[in-house]
């Protein structure tokens, strides 16, 4: 096979794959611009598949945001603010705590560090659903239910996967750097802050982007811990488009609001793409 042919095959495969991946997104976008009747028909499977709506209803978007939650506009703005607060704090907390613990596992020799590391890795095997109920009871005792605290505070106690990533990365940083800084008069915390964290940028990029996307889209956590409308995050607020029987009424609005919700993730990914892919590749080789 000559070069030109292999190029064609490569592109065909890539474009084909991309189309398959993007199709649901495009469908969402089309439905979000339909009239209520056509949208309901599309979801019900009776309307067929349209590549472009006959008469795009752009006003669906402001309407969707207005009608999110129980109070007009307020529901969306509240949920948006909550999502921003939770996501930002969780990202900061996860990066700080995971890098700190990863540094300790990589560079501080202490009794039992191996055992602790293995136990920590072991927690990765536990599905979240298993700890959900004990955690709920714990947070209820602390009086944190229906506040954002249960979503934010655990992030400051590290995340096993990211601790592992940081540890592997920090183990690659020459020990003499840490020793030089020790001789230069810095404490371990100062070394972590001034030397290790700046050198861990690729891991931090991955950690931040993964955490952001996960937390932004997290549905289970907010659903379990938050009850009132004022505390809802965007992922939960989207649910207000379902009626009390769980059916879909305004599917065109749901699609519009969902697409708006996705925007920050997409922007973030595009912005951090280079760091992100570099970090992933590096993590793959060295991790």
């Amino acid at each position: 096979m000559n070069r030109a042919t292999s190029r064609v095959v490569q592109y065909t495969l890539l474009v084909g794959g991309a189309l398959i991946m993007l199709a649901p997104l495009w469908w969402m976008f089309v439905v979000s611009l339909q009239t209520p009747e056509r949208a309901a028909a599309a979801v019900g499977g009776t309307g067929g598949v349209a590549l472009w709506p006959a008469s795009p209803q752009w006003m669906n978007y402001p309407q969707a945001l207005r009608e999110m939650g129980s109070v007009q506009w307020q529901g969306f703005l509240n949920a948006f603010a909550n999502s921003i607060v939770v996501t930002t704090l969780v990202v900061i907390g996860t990066v700080l705590s995971s890098s700190l613990v990863g540094f300790a596992f990589a560079r501080i020799r202490f009794r039992g560090s191996r055992a602790l590391f293995i136990i920590m890795l072991g927690t990765m095997m536990l599905p979240g659903q298993v700890t959900l109920i004990p955690l709920f009871i714990l947070f209820r005792h602390l009086g944190w239910i229906d506040s954002l605290l249960p979503l934010i505070v655990p992030a400051f106690f590290g995340n096993a996967f990211f601790i592992f990533m940081y540890r592997q990365f920090i183990a690659q940083i020459p020990e003499s750097l840490v020793e030089a800084a020790k001789v230069d008069g810095h404490s371990l915390v100062a070394i972590w802050w001034k030397i290790i964290l700046p050198l861990c940028k690729p891991v931090t990029a991955i950690c931040a982007v993964f955490t952001f996307i996960y937390v932004w889209n997290d549905f289970m956590g907010p659903l379990v811990y938050l009850h009132s409308d004022e505390q809802a995050t965007l992922a939960v607020a989207l649910n207000s488009f379902r009626n009390q029987y769980g059916g879909l009424e305004d599917v065109h609005l749901l699609m519009a609001a969902s697409l708006v919700t996705m925007v920050p993730c997409i922007v973030l990914f595009v912005a951090a793409q280079r760091q992100f892919i570099e970090g992933l590749a590096r993590g793959g080789v060295k991790g």
Binding site: L177, E179, A181, K182, V183, P198
Partner: protein, 403 residues
């Protein structure tokens, strides 16, 4: 400026399920104020471990280390008033040269001081004064090492030699009581290494600071040190000035380790003849040694004692053919190789299966051809004798290993 005292310092590591490995055994060493001491030995001899114990990067398993008057066994590295230069430079890759140099000076600026500076103008001006002082020190150090024009560069933009200078500069700005060097030149190419060696020597003369330097390169040790500490398997073999170590090695190991090419070693026996002459006999030669130089108590007349004779290559003078100037100071054999270096040449001779290397000036060796016979005259006054079993030097009035 400070003295450094090591008293019975040892280091052992737990190895495997049971038992310990001793890396350093009972090292006693007193380093005077302003002295340049070089720890030298083959890899794994415990020299780096000893240095790292002085730095506080390794715990001391036994004995005490004091810097100045103070025992520092349990003092953190940052409070020992030391600076260290690492083999791989250990420059902070995300900081430029200026920041690398000032990193050790800015330790006192904690997080809280940023807040304090916002409200307290007196504090702010004090901070500004400190910063100016730091800048002045960094620039002075950069001038000393000739790296002023590199201050804004990142470490990755520097050559090996420049990185090494920055690493030394980072120690220099701190103005510590003791400088520690852990094989700082071993990552440089040969030419640069010689150049940096001279500069370090000049730097030491200018600063008159206490410096402890670790290397596996005996040539580096000889050229830099006021005093050399030769180590092997965690044990100090000999401490002394380069001239002492070279001229009066305390045992066979030191004799063989110091000097290039290494000292020739010939196994044989020594006898004290009826007429009080000392005769060394081996497969390749019979040599008459001058009396009074060796400590051979217990050797009675007519008896033999197994010994190793050591002779430095430059104390062998090669000549063509089978000379007979003095049969009792000659070794005859076949020339295996002649390595010419321009000014001097090494002649490798094989005599009865024993290889001897002689170093002589180019002129003396022009006649010598590989594959032909030659004779080497041994300067018997420069011969060393070592006990065959213990390897200890059998020389009169050798200095005690530690002073």
């Amino acid at each position: 400026m400070a003295t450094v005292h090591l008293r019975a310092v040892s280091k052992s590591y737990a190895s495997g399920a049971s038992g310990t490995t001793r890396a350093v055994e009972s090292v006693d060493l007193a380093i005077a104020d302003g002295e340049f001491v070089v720890l030298v030995g083959p890899s794994g001899c415990g020299k780096s471990t000893t240095l790292r114990m002085i730095a506080g990067l390794e715990d001391v398993s036994g004995g005490t280390i004091s810097i100045g008057e103070c025992v520092v066994n349990d003092v953190a590295p940052k409070d020992r008033d030391i600076a260290m230069v690492f083999q791989n430079y250990a420059l902070y890759p995300h900081l430029n040269v200026r920041q690398n140099l000032s990193f050790g000076l800015e330790r006192r600026r904690a997080f809280k001081s940023c807040w304090r500076g916002l409200f307290d103008s007196a504090y702010r001006s004090k901070r500004a004064g400190e910063r100016a002082a730091i800048t002045a020190r960094v620039e002075a150090a950069a001038r000393t090492l000739g790296i002023e024009q590199l201050l804004h560069r990142q470490p990755r933009e520097l050559s090996g030699g420049q990185r090494q200078r920055v690493a030394v500069g980072r120690a220099l700005v701190r103005d510590p009581a003791v400088f520690l060097f852990d094989e700082p030149l071993s990552n440089l190419d040969a030419l640069l290494r010689t150049e940096m060696r001279t500069e370090l020597r000049i730097l030491h003369r200018r600063l008159r600071a206490t410096m402890v330097y670790v290397t596996h390169d005996q040539e580096e040790a000889m050229s830099l040190a006021d005093r050399i500490v030769v180590m092997k398997d965690g044990v100090v073999q000999q401490v002394g000035s380069p001239a002492e170590i070279y001229g009066r090695p305390s045992n066979r190991f030191v004799a063989g380790f110091i000097g290039t090419p290494p000292m020739n070693m010939i196994d044989g026996t020594i006898t004290l003849d009826a007429d009080s002459t000392l005769t060394f006999r081996s497969a390749c030669c019979t040599l008459t040694l001058p009396p009074g130089r060796f400590d051979l108590d217990g050797l009675s007349r007519g008896h033999e004692r197994p010994v190793t004779l050591g002779i430095r290559p430059e104390r062998l003078s090669p000549a063509v053919g089978e000379s007979n100037v003095s049969a009792h100071a000659n070794v005859t054999g076949r020339v295996v190789a002649v390595e010419r270096y321009g000014a001097s040449a090494d002649v490798v001779l094989s005599a009865s299966g024993i290889r001897l290397i002689a170093r002589a000036s180019q002129e003396c060796t022009t006649q010598i051809r590989e594959g032909e016979n030659a004779t080497m005259t041994v300067d018997v006054n420069a011969a060393h004798l070592f006990d065959s079993h213990t390897g200890c030097a059998l020389a009169r009035a050798i200095r005690a290993p530690n002073r």
